[in-house]
Symmetry: C2
Subunit: 453 residues, 2 copies
């Protein structure tokens, strides 16, 4: 490489183009290493198939922490440790069931209780009322008492980014149960946050409002949602609903952290991460096994290529993103308490799909600096640098010390086919798409480490 | 819409920004129509599950032609017809088998004869010699006589675009058999053109050189290729190879064409297309069912939105791309014979994945004009407009009358997981990714129709 760089200099390249060429060569080395020798896909197989589901407080969480620590050490971390934090301990408690009763017939519907939701106690048999949106709920507030409210607000397919559809519909999952309870509803069925063509229900956290009864709530698969809506056009439908969710006392969980010590500015920190927890119904392959194994892959690539970072780089598998964010909060709190200066944080928590670029929340100057690296990133993705973005787990760093944050933006078309559903499994992750995400993250972190922000 | 346009004018927008706003609004209408009401995914289900495989000359080809004509008519074509052409009629003739014989053991390997390849006649039992590349073949040319040459040239994973890996490795499939036959080899096993993690063999056309014996040739799944290579490190391996391919006489096939007549320049033609044929081993969902149903979707969207094109737009399902290109040649020949002026052609034949942009083969002026539309396309894809590209079926138009051509460029990471293999099925196509391809194609065709090239 030295010969090439010398040749470039002799040919009259400026220091800037010298740096650009050097950077370009190093990014290609990262890419080659990950695409040819990368282990993220193998890591993901172990995390999903041997560890499996890993909801906060579950045995899977502890197994995952042990796996994470060992894997970060094996990848070459200078130091690796567990950072303790209390995590909520919600359990599903049994098999969620909803049976539709109509015209002397019965049909079992494909449902999954929402995360954090309560047990129905005994089997709850009630009439169903379909509610298209909150405006309709308000209009029909006198009609929902003692009924099961069926929120049938569909994903808006017209959005190009599926995350916009999620944001649009997501309020029915988070706020729907308490808003129905306010008017006396006995339970809630929410159309799954998805536009998949299958019938898998998609769980995810709901947030009860303490002012109202905490009624049981389930997500329903899209085919069954359409079926139920069609039935309700012609007839009365009751359902027998049975859920078993409850909170056990908070328990001990951990962020799993690996570190490469900075050689020039060891007291400046860059954090890369994903979250280690998943919902209980699946393997959490895209959400967020992908982000975890990409994070570890970057550490492995830096070590394998002999890269000695200027700044201290932290590789963090965060605890409890799904239903509490205790890991992200703990990490930021401890950073603040220790006076650590965090100059940048990057998260991957939107699936292991082909990367499109990054969403960045930073000052205008920092945003411009990151944008100026676009040509270096372009060989590895469309390198769209957009304003706004980051990640749930690194948000607390931004809030507590103004750290500029970014989130990897993968192609979003398939994410909500799998998100929080039983089909979020290893088989639905493509090896090269996963690796390309790691390459783009490694490239951005390398540039931030080298040039600062 | 008129009110909005009027308001924009009043606000002082120039004619250019007026046009831009009008275009932007129409492209959004196309996008909304396809994402919300599109039928391409349903069409693909019928084409793959009810029609199925459709190799040139097979019963499936005729079924597909009938389906295509009916579907173009139903989508609203002003005219739709079959354009006759002779097509080659290669048949697989039976189940391809390769059994490895080693250390008193046997193992059946997962293989598929290459398209256009010959029967082995009787079971051929010969020793295997592994050949890494053509340089090694030349070095070992005296050692291959009467053996089965096993070309084990892997896809280069370091390429970001998988089509570069395909181009790099593809010569072993196309030229490998005859180059081995030149030195007396009895048969050939080619490592599949893929970097998938499964064991499906990937077929595809080979091209015999008439100067040498036309020896039987199969593709082998990657896991079995690695297994065979490992065995050969330690021991001698023979295989029993049996294939049954042959050519029947050329037969009659058809391009299936739908047309919307131009209102201002009816004698200027724009062609959009994909190819209707597929290999026999699978449903041809990505290759190229996707391109066919996207083509029909664009016609349907234009009709539904009341779009009256200035130029005549042809929606073409080409015959015989896989092993002859007779359909594309016939289309260009007839266009030339009739003096049709083809101002642009666009093909989708790289899978139904999320689009990245277009590859364009055109004059510098035309390329710049297409590039100037990038901001209009950006809401629907990264809109990367790259030099070079088109499609096999529209290549003859470019050659015979210099028509500028473009090819939709979808994300390429998964394409060679499925290409020409048994898993190129409906289930591996994502509805929204498929639709986004159609949206981007429709947008480009709309702009070319409106502004010319």
């Amino acid at each position: 490489m030295k010969k090439l760089l010398f040749a470039l200099l002799v040919l009259g390249f400026s220091v800037d183009s010298f740096s650009q060429a050097e950077d370009s060569i190093f990014l290609k080395r990262i890419s080659d290493y990950i695409l040819v020798n990368g282990k993220s896909y193998d890591d993901l197989r172990v995390l999903t198939k041997q560890v499996g589901a890993r909801l906060s407080g579950s045995a899977g969480m502890y197994k995952a922490e042990t796996w994470g620590l060992k894997t970060l050490q094996a990848a070459g971390a200078d130091n690796a440790w567990l950072q303790e934090c209390l995590v909520p301990h919600w359990v599903r408690g049994g098999k969620d069931e909803v049976t539709a009763l109509y015209k002397n017939s019965k049909k079992s519907l494909n449902v999954l209780a929402l995360g954090n939701s309560n047990s129905s106690g005994k089997l709850l048999t009630k009439e169903v009322i379909e509610i298209k949106n909150f405006a309709e709920l308000e209009a029909k507030k006198n009609a929902v008492k003692d009924k099961i409210v069926f929120y049938n607000y569909p994903f808006n397919n017209a959005f190009i980014s599926t995350f916009l559809a999620y944001r649009d519909a997501g309020v029915y999952r988070s706020q729907g149960p308490s808003r129905a309870a306010k008017y006396g509803a006995a339970g809630v069925i929410v159309r799954s946050m998805s536009h998949s063509t299958d019938n898998n229900p998609h769980t995810g956290a709901t947030a009860y409002n303490d002012s109202f009864p905490k009624i049981p709530a389930v997500a329903i698969g899209l085919q069954d949602a359409d079926w139920l809506s069609n039935q309700l056009k012609n007839t009365t439908v009751s359902v027998g609903l049975s859920t078993h969710g409850k909170f056990l006392p908070d328990t001990i969980g951990h962020n799993v952290i690996g570190e490469l010590k900075g050689t020039e500015f060891p007291n400046e920190y860059i954090t890369i991460g994903g979250h280690l927890d998943s919902w209980d119904a699946a393997e959490g392959a895209h959400d967020d096994g992908a982000g975890c194994v990409q994070t570890i892959e970057i550490l492995r690539a830096f070590k394998a290529l002999g890269y000695k970072p200027k700044r201290t780089i932290r590789f963090v598998l965060f605890a409890n993103e799904e239903n509490g964010l205790r890991g992200g909060n703990k990490y930021a709190d401890e950073a603040k308490a220790k006076g650590e200066k965090h100059i940048f944080a990057l998260e991957s928590d939107a699936g292991g799909f082909t990367p499109i670029g990054f969403g960045v929340s930073a000052s205008e100057t920092q945003f411009e600096k990151i944008s100026s690296w676009k040509s270096l990133l372009l060989p590895y993705s469309p390198a769209e640098i957009r304003r706004g973005g980051g990640g749930a787990d690194i948000g607390p760093l931004a809030r507590t010390q103004g750290t500029p944050v970014a989130g990897l933006s993968p192609d979003s078309q398939r994410y909500f086919d799998y998100h929080h559903a039983a089909n979020d499994v290893f088989e639905n992750v493509n090896k090269r798409e996963l690796q390309l995400g790691a390459i783009n993250m490694a490239a951005l972190v390398y540039l931030v480490d080298k040039y600062g922000l």
